[in-house]
Structure formats: structure tokens, C-alpha cells
Symmetry: C2
Subunit: 593 residues, 2 copies
């Protein structure tokens, strides 16, 4: 085809260094973290250096095989999962950067980077190649969990090699019959008498579940110990390596963990996604029996932020590709001057193309702000004073379902717009935007579907501690409204009104304590709260941009204006629906469908 | 994988015979058409027979290779496009049914079926295999155009073989530099002196543009005759067969039409989509020079309804698959009784799953109603009395952008929901719903993007004949509101209010006659008008179901209620935006993006 090969992906259309700098330094004042003991060795210069090296490795080692990883997906042969060689090379480059241990303590070989900086660095890899970035993301989450909850000898045996890049990690929660419903997990753990357990069962949807990229794979497996009660209270967490690992840290014989098959996905194809069979495999209990889900939630909460970040990254790169295309592609004339003899214009001149681009900008930049705000809370939680840390932990807990679900929906919308801006070309595999769209479609599903996030937000987060999380969130939004300069007063007012509505509707929903009625439209609640939170993120950005000149800051102001004028009004419909307490869905007779 | 192979697609999850019967007979009173001379040979029995044979062939010959057509896409080799053999077999079965000439006159070998019945029959094929159904769809559109505008000898030479299934047809409008902007078409036509022309140029995105499925391919090519003015007024339409066809109707030598390459798409993979090169190829003028676009619009308008119908069909089959899965798949417990010892329930018991299913039902059944209503207007246009025919033509013209764009967006949403209902399984290629989603993503692009449809509706259709089209549409909606029984009074009121708002906003938009301002948010206008029109379709269905008992009719009532309660309120946001006459998009400095 004449237009078959398109421009090579470069740093400039992976992610925006300028936007990251604005968010990190001009808004979140990340530099001030260097005053804290944990980050005392760091400075803006070291942060910038890690951001820059991330951009470079992402461009050179990750973006370059994004397409190939999609077209030549992992193959299942001889009981193994075979992955294209570029993945191993990319992971090696990533490991050598030190970022695999970016957040860990120096004494564990870590960089002690603030989480918010580490998150920003990692976004480069997610935007360049979401599938390959999944391997280190899972390994880091796994290592962090074990670092917190596992016995010291297990940390030494399993975490150290993961930090060195020799082992990789997974999380094994789902089973073929139990995805969202973890209380139905049936994998069994029988004590072997020597302090270890024998694990038997089937696990499904295991990302990075098998491959030959590392010396072995450290699976974290939710299972039910003998005699444990039904439901989630009976779940314990076990370390189950693919190979038996001796005290010397060298993997030996296989450990009864077999690859049953690979799932063939619509996108995210470069990440192996496996069905695994555990047969009397040797497992090591993490912490105490019956606390498995609680431990797992540390990794899952981090993974949920990671999923949101991945969704933002995919939406962001799609937006940048669409923007570049719209500036180059010449076609048609503006409505006002349809003289056929006039030269055609770049399609960025057409209002509907601008609408899609500006809407996408609000989704991806608003999403990135949300992700980095959440990551900044993680730092506050770990390095703030006691009161700050407690507040940050509560706010993060409250925001997590939104941080996971909002970008998964709206940055996917940005990918949808990116296809549409490209027209017919965008629908072809000669251009990268269709892959971003397919890749991003996973994000509303894994690590808890949108439906699960809605139930978590309205059924658990909003009601926890007598509504303390909701009060805190609303308080934070109102603080931002008060802080906003006068010229943003109309946005501040709308945000205040939105908060009032959120509180009022929440109160009405829980007024009669019938959870079925209250939760009937929990997804609408998630939508409304999500749009309100992202409007807050836009007011924050517009405030940070106030009084500053130049196209970049004008862009932030315009995008904020667009979000408040065109997006925030959507919340009215969702709130109205919630307030109506319509029980149509709960009451409906299935036979009518 | 254990769950690799899923249930075979059968009639019951392709499309709903029951719903078609309801729409055709209980609402649109299609049986009454048999009183008209053109349809006098028909009866409900013949209609039912064609519907039934369509369902059977769709199940046996089309659905069976839908997956294979996706995974083994057409290959470009030796200058030819190679297609899997099942496609040819399916087209032969389709041809043998007589449906290829379903709408044509008996004297031309046609069945003289009402268009609405023919459209319903064809929906079975689109739902079973959208890619394979594209070949006959294009051929029928091509044949109909030539039947109307071509010289009798060209009808004899090209249309008759198409009706027999020996030739297939295409439409060749776009060029690599001119997709939405046909005024930039540069393909040239030079008179050869013998009444024929020599055509030279490049055409892009030609569906069915090359293959070995027929003896030859009849291309309808938009080109600029020597000395023609710039813009669309300089475009003429030419018949350019792939092979020179002698007066005996037998294809001979190649005619300077070369396959340059195939586009590799995200979905719709079974339909070859070609870049074609025309080099001094022999072409025959259709009608008069300079009228090419006007003729093409007959085919394009039909194709736009066809695209809407395809979008509905894909959404519909996705919904039926999701519904079947939700009834079978057992997981989790209802919110109100989270006893882990209680047995898990089918996921259709979970409110959020019901929400997705019910929303999808309103999209796909509402979309099908819209398509068949439009098809019924085609019959009115061709067989009604003079006044009825003129009114139907005007209303159809008015509705066409909505008929094309609304299902393309909202039935795609149903496909999105179908994936979500399936959870992780829905994201895998082991289940068919991800293919439906990929296939349907083309529909907002081809035959005029959503952006083009919005401009057509607000810039052309609404203003034509001093707003006669809009008045007629609103009048029709109000008639339905008046006709509605008392128990549907609240829906009728909301519909009346929506009409009033539509008229008011339209007037304000055009009050200062600055098209740039008026059209700045034309996509929001398309969205608002589309949702209003589909709400009307739901009131029509609820009215037709009034007083009837049983789950099917209860389902219609519930869906209508859902659409009015959960969907129609979206229009408020769009209307508010339009009324604000926000010129942000038009004014925006591109450098800010």
C-alpha cells in the first residue's frame, strides 16, 4: 500500500515530557519531597535524569517492538510460552536502568525514588508498549507485597532475585469459575508438615503466567488451606515458584506448575496470559492463614492504580498520534469558505476534529493528573507525618476505584477518537491507533471490572468509617475551589455544586439502608463521582497555570474550560438517575430480556 | 484452553425472528403493502418464507465462516486478492435464494419484495457475517443505481449479470488524498471519441474492490471529465469493469484496473478492501457529465441505511450472545445476600449486568426499529400515492444521517457491553463478541464519518426547503405522542418537550446565519436528534405493545421505560451545549493542543 509505513513512534508521540514537568513540578511540587529524609539523596536533577532515561529506553527498546508484539503474539508449544526476543532485550534495558527497584529501599538495592516520580517514569514504558511493560509492573507489585508481608527468608530467596531482574512475578487470583467472585476460589493448600504447603488447583487469566524471560516465575497464589471457612475469609496467600528454588537462590526442578494454555486476546497480545495448573506444588505461606485477600489487596490496589496509569498512557499516546496526524493530513475546507478552488486545509482546522482532539486532551491530561495525584498520596502515606499519612491513606482508598475505572473508560474514548480523527486509515493496522484501542479495551475488565469498582466505591468506600472518606474527598475538592483564582470562579462554583449534589445523592441512596436499592445504579455513581474528581483535577491544573503565558498554559486553560462546559454537565444525568432510585434494574424479570 | 470452543452460533443468537415479526407486522403493518399493485403477488406467507430462508442460509452458510474470515483475511498475491472458499459458497447460496434481486422488478428477474421485508431478510446475513454480506450489499446498490440512471444497453450488459450473481459491483469514490472531501477527487476521464472514456487515477478504500469471487467486477467510478470545473460539480460517474465485457456479456481481457494492495483492517477483515489503480481503462458514462455525485448519492444513501443496518445487526447479535452467556454463566451472589455458603447465581442476577443488557436491548431493538421504519419509507416513496411518496422521500432524506450514524455509535456500545458482560472471556478471541466489536468500529467511519453526518443533518437537511424536513419529522414524532395510550403519557410528554427543544435550538443556531458558529457543535446536534428519534421509535414500540400480555411485550415496555428514563435525558446536555453556542472549538488556537 502506498501509505503503508507511517512515521516511526518517537518520544514526541509517546508521552509529553512538558506535561509531566508541569504536573510534577508546577502543580504537585514534587521537588519539595527532597526535603524529606527518605528522598534526601534526590533532587530535581535526579528526577529529571530518570524521566529522561525512561523516555529514551521507552523509545528505543519498547516502542520499537510494540507492533511486532501484537502481530506475533506468544505461542504455546512444547508446554512453553514463546515470546518474541525483543521483549527480553527491553526488559534487560529496563532492569539496567535501576527502575525495577525504583521505589525500594537503598538497603534492598532500591533507588528510593518518590512513588510519584517512579510512576511518571513508568508511564513512558506503558505508553510505548503496554504489553511488555506488564512484566515489570507485575514483578514490582509482587516484590513490594512480599517485602511487606513475607518472612525474611522468603524475601531473601524470592524478592532479591526479582529486584535483580532474574525472576519475574505474577498474581494468581482468578480461576475459570471465579473471576470477580474471589469467594469462590477453590484452589487448595494442604500443609506438608515441614512448614510448607502443597498447592493444587487451576488459575486463569494469569498475566505473565508463563514465559522463558526469567530464570523462574514467582507466583502469588490465593488458595484455601485445609479446614478453612468458605468465602474470602478462608483465603490464604502462598508463594509458589515455577521451579523449586534452593536456599542458594538457584532454581532447580519444576514445581508442579504447568502451563495449560494461552488466552488469545483482542489486544495486549504481547503479554502472555495463561491458564495454569498447580499440582501438589510446593508453596510457602505469606503471613498468616486466612489473611490472603487482605495482603493481596496491597498488590491489587497498586495494580489498580497501575491499570489506570496504563489506560492513561494508551490514551495519551493515541491522542498525540492523532494530533500529529491532524496537523499533517490535508483534506477539505472550513465550513465558512467552501470554495472548491481554495486549497484544502489540515484537518485540524475542522471543528469536529478539534472537538475530538480537545475532548481527548481533557481525558488524557486529566487522567494523568489523577494518576500522579494518587501516586503523590502514596508518598504522603509513606513519608508524611502521622496525620498527613493517615489522611493520604484514606483519600487514596477512596479514590482507588475512580483511579482505576475512570481512565479505563475515558482514555479508551480518546483512543476511539484517535481512530476517528485518522478516518479510514485509523481503522487499518498500518497505523498504530487501532492497536492502542484494542489494547486499552482490557483495562475496564482486569483488576476488577467497572461494575466491581462501582460497587466498591458506593458500597464500601463511601460508607467506610461513617463516611469519613467521602467527607475528606469533598473537603479536598472544596479546598481547591476556594484556592482557585477569581477568573476561574465559575468553575469553582460548578465544582462546589457538584460536591453538594454528590453528598446529597449519597445520603439519599443510603437513607433506607436497603443495599439492593442503594447499589442498583452504582455504575452511574462511579461515572458521576469520576467526572467530578477529574473536573477537580482540571481546576487544579487551571489554577497552577493561572498567570502564566504561552500556548502550553493556554492549552491547560482551554481544556479546563472544555471539561467544565462539555463534560461536567454529564454528571447531572447520572445524579438525576441515582436520585430517582429507579429500581427497574433490580426488579426486572429476566425473561423480558 | 478448557473453555476454548464456545457454543456454535445458531439462529437464536444471530437475530430475533420474534422481534422482526413484531416490528414488521404488529407495528409497521407491512402486510397491508400486499394491497398495492407492486406487491400483489406477495402475502404474509411469502414474506415469512423469505425471512425464514434468510435465517437458514445465514446460519448455515454465513455464520459458519464468520470467524475464519476474520482470522484468515484476504491475501494479496500475484496481483490478486485471495479469499477463503467459504465466501464463494455463501454467495452462491445467497444468489440461489433470489434475494440478490429481491427488490427488483419481476421483468428484470426480481422478486418485487417490499424494501422493508428485503431489508429485514438482509439483516440476517449482516448479523451472521457482516464481512461476507458486504459483497451482495454493494452489488445490489450498484445494480439499483445503474437500473435508474444508466443507458439501457449498459443495464443489459452489466446489471443483468449482477442480478444473476455472475458479476459483482463496487462504488469507487475515495482516493488516497480525498476521503470525506470528494471535491478533491482527481481521477480523470478523457473521451475516447467513440462514446467511451479512458479513466486514469487511484481509488482507495474500495470494499470488494478486487477478488476472484465473480466473473468480473463492475466498478462505479467518480472521475473528472476533461475540462470539468473544480469541486463536486465537475464529477461524473463511469462504469469501469475489471475486464472488458463484450456485447455478449462475456468478460474478456483486463481493462487497465489493477489491484495495488489490500488494506489490513482491525475488523471487517473478510471483505477485501483495496487500493485500485485505473490506467486508461475503458469507462462508460452514466447519465450526463457533471451529475456523477447526484447519481452516486442514490447508492450512497442506500449504503448509509445499509451501514446503519449492519451496525444494528452486529450490535444485535452481540447482545443475544451476551444475554445467553449471562443466563448460563454462574458467579457471585446478589448484593442483598452475600452469604458465601449460598450457591452462586447466574450473572444475569447482578444489577450491573442487567443494566448493560437492558441498555443494549434499547440500542439494538431501537436501532432495528429505526432501520425498518426507514426501509418502510422507501416503500412509501416508491409505491405510495403522490403526496405520501413526496412526504416519505423528504422524511427519509431528513432521517438518513441519523439512520447511518446512530446505530454506528450506539450499537457499537452494545458490542462494548457484550464484551464487558463476558468479562475476561469476552476479551479473548475464543468468544465471538470481540470480533463483533472490531467489525462494528468501521461503521462510524465508512460511507461518511459521524462528523460528516452531523454536518449533513444540521448544515443541509435541517435547512433544506425552509426547514420542511425538520417540520415533517417533528410533526411525525408529535403524531406518535398523541397516538400513545394514556399509560405512556409521561413518555409522550417527554418526547413533546424534546421536540420543542429541538426546534428551539435549531432556530437559535441558525438565527444569525453564521455557519461556522451554527455548525461548531454539529456532532452534539446529531447526538441529540438521534436520541430523540430513537425515543420516538421506543414510544412507537410501546404503543404497539400496549394491552398485550407476555414476556415479549413486557420486555418492550421495560425497554421503552429504560430508554426514556436513562437515555433520553442525555439530550439535555447536548441541547444545553448547542444553545450556549460555545465557539471554543472554532476559536481555539491549534498550538494549544
Amino acid at each position: 500500500m502506498p501509505e503503508r509505513e507511517t512515521a516511526v513512534t518517537t518520544v514526541s508521540n509517546i508521552l509529553s515530557q512538558r506535561d509531566l514537568e508541569f504536573l510534577l513540578y508546577e502543580w504537585l511540587d514534587v521537588e519539595s519531597l527532597t526535603a524529606r529524609p527518605r528522598f534526601a539523596e534526590h533532587s530535581r536533577e535526579t528526577f529529571d535524569a530518570f524521566l529522561q532515561v525512561s523516555a529514551q529506553i521507552a523509545e528505543r527498546e519498547f516502542a520499537t517492538h510494540n507492533k511486532r508484539g501484537d502481530t506475533e503474539e506468544p505461542r504455546f508449544a512444547d508446554g512453553k510460552a514463546h515470546v518474541i526476543p525483543e521483549v527480553k532485550a527491553a526488559l534487560t534495558a529496563f532492569n539496567e536502568s535501576g527502575l525495577l527497584a525504583g521505589g525500594l529501599d537503598a538497603e534492598d538495592g532500591g533507588l528510593q525514588l518518590p512513588h510519584v516520580v517512579h510512576r511518571a517514569c513508568f508511564a513512558w514504558f506503558q505508553a510505548a508498549n503496554i504489553a511488555t511493560s506488564a512484566y515489570p509492573m507485575l514483578t514490582m507489585g509482587n516484590a513490594n507485597l512480599l517485602r511487606t508481608y513475607a518472612a525474611p527468608e522468603h524475601v531473601a530467596r524470592f524478592v532479591a532475585p526479582m529486584v535483580e531482574g532474574r525472576f519475574t512475578g505474577t498474581m494468581c487470583l482468578s480461576e475459570p469459575q471465579a473471576g470477580s467472585s474471589l469467594s469462590d476460589v477453590t484452589t487448595r493448600a494442604v500443609p506438608a508438615g515441614d512448614g510448607t504447603y502443597r498447592i493444587t488447583g487451576s488459575k486463569m487469566w494469569i498475566s505473565g503466567g508463563d514465559h522463558e524471560l526469567s530464570e523462574t516465575i514467582v507466583h502469588l497464589v490465593l488458595a484455601r488451606a485445609a479446614g478453612a471457612p468458605p468465602g474470602v475469609k478462608g483465603l490464604s496467600l502462598f508463594i509458589v515458584p515455577k521451579h523449586v528454588v534452593g536456599p542458594d537462590g538457584v532454581p532447580g526442578r519444576r514445581n508442579g506448575v504447568d502451563l495449560v494454555g494461552l488466552n488469545h486476546k483482542m489486544g495486549f497480545r504481547g503479554t502472555t496470559n495463561a491458564a495454569l495448573s498447580f499440582t501438589d506444588s510446593e508453596g510457602f505461606l505469606v503471613g498468616e492463614e486466612g489473611r490472603g485477600l487482605a495482603y493481596m489487596f496491597q498488590m491489587m490496589n497498586a495494580a489498580r492504580i497501575g491499570v489506570g496509569a496504563g489506560a492513561v498512557a494508551l490514551g495519551y499516546t493515541g491522542y498525540l498520534h492523532a494530533l500529529a496526524y491532524a496537523r499533517e493530513r490535508v483534506q477539505g475546507r472550513p465550513v465558512a469558505g467552501k470554495d472548491p478552488a481554495a486549497p484544502p486545509v489540515p484537518i485540524i482546522r475542522h471543528p469536529d476534529v478539534r472537538r475530538m482532539l480537545l475532548a481527548s486532551k481533557t481525558y488524557v491530561e486529566g487522567g494523568l493528573a489523577l494518576i500522579l495525584y494518587a501516586a503523590r498520596l502514596v508518598d504522603e502515606q509513606h513519608t508524611g507525618d502521622t496525620a498527613e499519612a493517615a489522611e493520604a491513606a484514606l483519600l487514596l482508598d477512596m479514590l482507588t476505584p475512580i483511579v482505576k475505572a475512570w481512565p479505563s473508560r475515558w482514555c479508551l474514548k480518546a483512543n476511539d477518537h484517535a481512530i476517528q480523527v485518522h478516518g479510514g486509515y485509523g481503522y487499518t493496522r498500518e497505523y498504530p491507533v487501532e492497536q492502542f484501542y484494542r489494547d486499552n479495551r482490557l483495562n475496564p475488565i482486569h483488576e476488577g471490572t467497572d461494575g466491581i469498582q462501582g460497587l466498591d466505591l458506593l458500597g464500601r468506600k463511601v460508607t467506610m468509617r461513617d463516611g469519613a472518606g467521602l467527607s475528606l474527598l469533598v473537603g479536598k475538592i472544596r479546598e481547591a475551589a476556594v484556592r482557585a483564582p477569581a477568573e476561574l470562579g465559575w468553575m469553582a462554583e460548578r465544582l462546589e455544586a457538584g460536591c453538594a449534589r454528590l453528598v446529597e445523592v449519597t445520603g439519599k441512596l443510603w437513607s433506607d439502608a436497603d443495599p439492593t436499592t442503594a447499589l442498583a445504579n452504582s455504575t452511574a455513581y462511579l461515572n458521576a463521582a469520576g467526572h467530578l474528581v477529574v473536573a477537580w483535577m482540571w481546576l487544579e491544573q487551571a489554577t497552577a497555570a493561572a498567570g502564566r503565558e504561552g500556548a502550553f498554559y493556554d492549552g491547560k486553560r482551554l481544556a479546563a474550560r472544555y471539561f467544565f462546559a462539555h463534560e461536567l454537565p454529564r454528571t447531572t444525568t447520572w445524579f438525576d438517575l441515582l436520585e430517582s432510585r429507579d429500581t427497574l434494574l433490580a426488579d426486572l424479570d429476566d425473561a423480558c430480556l
